[in-house]
């Protein structure tokens, strides 16, 4: 299964994103959906870069597979501090500029762009699994798109 591992540093972000985008493109995902997948991956990776390894260095790994020719599945893992990114509360989207903060927005994008998202801790590793169908599910007639499976 295709996998990439690098040290968890911002200088590797674009290379890691390109890995994910390449697989989505090869699997025939539309351009806009590929960018949505890149966005979700970036937000997860940036969180790992910023928070997983306080005062030290560590790795991040991404496994990418295509299921049934329909779904792209990412497993993003690190062996940093225990952290479930999916537990971060959603930001308040209605506050005006003067009071608005950006905290929580990255995680919110992950939940909006991915069709399913789950977290588990295995030994000393945080493992986040995200899946993406070829088109982001619409919001009409559905519940808030933030499916979390435990």
């Amino acid at each position: 299964m295709p996998e990439i591992t690098s040290s968890a540093r911002m200088e590797h972000l674009e290379r890691l994103i390109a890995f994910v985008a390449g697989h989505a493109e090869t699997a025939g995902f539309p351009v806009q959906r590929t960018k949505e997948i890149e966005l979700a991956a970036e937000e997860v990776l940036v969180n790992i870069f910023n928070y997983a390894y306080p005062g030290m260095t560590g790795d991040v790994s991404i496994e990418c597979r295509i299921e049934d020719d329909l779904r792209l599945v990412l497993e993003i893992s690190d062996n940093g501090a225990p952290f479930n990114i999916l537990e971060v509360p959603d930001p308040d989207l209605t506050t005006p500029v003067s009071e608005r903060h950006v905290g929580g927005l990255g995680v919110f994008f992950v939940k909006e762009m991915a069709d399913t998202a789950s977290y588990r801790r295995e030994g000393d590793r945080n493992i986040l699994v995200l899946s993406f169908a070829k088109h982001r599910h619409g919001t009409g007639g559905q519940e808030h798109a933030g499916h979390v499976q435990e």
Partner: protein, 111 residues
């Protein structure tokens, strides 16, 4: 990511951004805009027609710039958002707190 001053019309300072504003490029994007604001430009029109991708890091920079503009009683309008960039603005609620316009011409006409 490219960010350039591409014109000045009716004292609006026009900036064109191309490429991607992600966690790697957002600091440069923010720094360039802040430099122009510090130089005294307080009526900015930012053409995002060539912006292909933006993440929360980019939105953070835009929010910082928008707050800075408010302290200077300035004005910033973002134009030409498309595809995933427009989607990101809509989902995050930024479409309702940052002035957007279809095009630079429309922004000049309106502001």
């Amino acid at each position: 990511m490219e960010v350039e001053n591409t014109g000045k019309e009716k004292d609006r300072f026009i900036i064109t951004v191309k490429g991607r504003v992600d966690a790697v490029t957002a600091p440069e994007f923010e720094k360039r805009l802040e430099e122009w604001i510090d130089e005294g430009e307080t009526r900015l029109i930012v053409d995002l027609g060539g912006l292909e991708y933006i993440s929360s890091a980019g939105l953070r920079s835009i929010l910082t710039i928008a707050k800075k503009m408010k302290t200077k009683q300035g004005q910033i309008v973002l134009c030409g958002l498309r595809d995933t960039v427009k989607e990101v603005f809509d989902i995050s609620g930024f479409s309702t707190i940052i002035p957007l316009c279809e095009s630079v011409d429309a922004a000049i006409g309106k502001t």
